[in-house]
Symmetry: C2
Subunit: 175 residues, 2 copies
DNA sequence: TGCTAATATTTCGAAATCGAAGTCTGCCGA
DNA sequence: TCGGCAGACTTCGATTTCGAAATATTAGCA
């Protein structure tokens, strides 16, 4: 370092910021092979979230509302309970009540009592909700493709394979 | 499919839910090699966020406050402006003002006017803030190591390498 | 059956967040 | 130098979220 004053570095690029982050975590006691992966995943997610947010304003949807739509879409038409939606969206049950109120008003989802269990409520996507989902996925896919443009097909495949190994272990850790 | 009624599947495992999610996005018009990666990253992040939230309650810290602490830690003692913190945390500048008020009260950060530019404010971590950061990283690293336990050292390295390629391209897409 | 504990949702008040002004300072061209 | 414009932060009112309490129903058990 010599007597040189610490350079006023401009941490402009994402890659640079990422590397500094890893170095910081490692210096604080984190394991390097762990921090490289975790930090990279977090960086990527943050950027993706920014882009999703931009696209969602076009659809006049909040990220939370989008989470509800995707969860219902994944259920393939099978109705889902509010508590499951709250869980999937990492959000308090009471917040979900409010969200569903608004989304119902707007005609994106439909609430109905569960005939088999009167403590439960079933939520499902309306036709309008489905249309919105399909349109949004198509748009998002454009951005997401750009994000992965730097990888060849086989690299994407390798990346997905590795991530899938991690995901397969995820449940076991919840205890 | 045969006339068999759709099985009432219990999408219990994370891997199963992941696969259904990918299938749903592909059916809606997404590209498969893209959706495998993006969905996996999102799944992983959601789980990580859940665990972080749990650890943070022990420290009596909100996820947002933690984001401030990490950003200041990454700056290695160099003060950072509130607007940069807001940007890094994907949050409105006005929200950051409120957060910093609280964190200052609590003694985690320190605000001071920038001597070179009186429109700016400089924020830095106090000693207490640093201690909290180091302690939290050590704890988080335990969980994160568990998450990646299913990968060998070289697999982790390969995973990190691939993610770094993606990150390197991130800035170019911001236009 | 009757009683208690557990579960699912909603209601309610407090706290966090947002976006739109508002205030102050620095920058730049006339 | 002056005037206006742009940038940084804060203030303010409205919206969203949270956690705890309230309500209603089911499940388990004596």
């Amino acid at each position: 370092m010599d007597g040189m004053p610490t350079a006023k570095r401009r941490p402009s690029s994402a890659k640079q910021r990422y590397q500094e982050a890893v170095a910081t975590y490692v210096a604080a006691g984190g394991d390097e092979s762990v921090q490289r992966v975790i930090t990279a995943v977090n960086s990527l997610t943050r950027k993706l979230d920014q882009w999703y947010a931009r696209q969602l304003v076009d659809l006049d949807l909040s990220p939370g509302e989008w989470a509800v739509v995707t969860e219902l879409a994944k259920a393939e038409g099978q109705p889902v309970t509010p508590s499951r939606l709250a869980d999937a969206g990492n959000v308090a049950a009471s917040s979900m009540t409010h969200r569903l109120d608004k989304m119902t008003e707007r005609g994106l989802v439909r609430r109905s009592p569960d005939p088999d269990n009167r403590t439960r409520v079933l939520v499902e996507l309306t036709d309008e909700g489905w249309q919105l989902f399909v349109a949004a996925v198509r748009e998002a896919n454009v951005v997401e493709s750009d994000v992965l443009a730097g990888l060849t097909k086989s690299q994407r495949s390798a990346l997905a394979d590795l991530l899938e190994v991690v995901i397969a272990d995820l449940d076991a850790l919840d205890t």
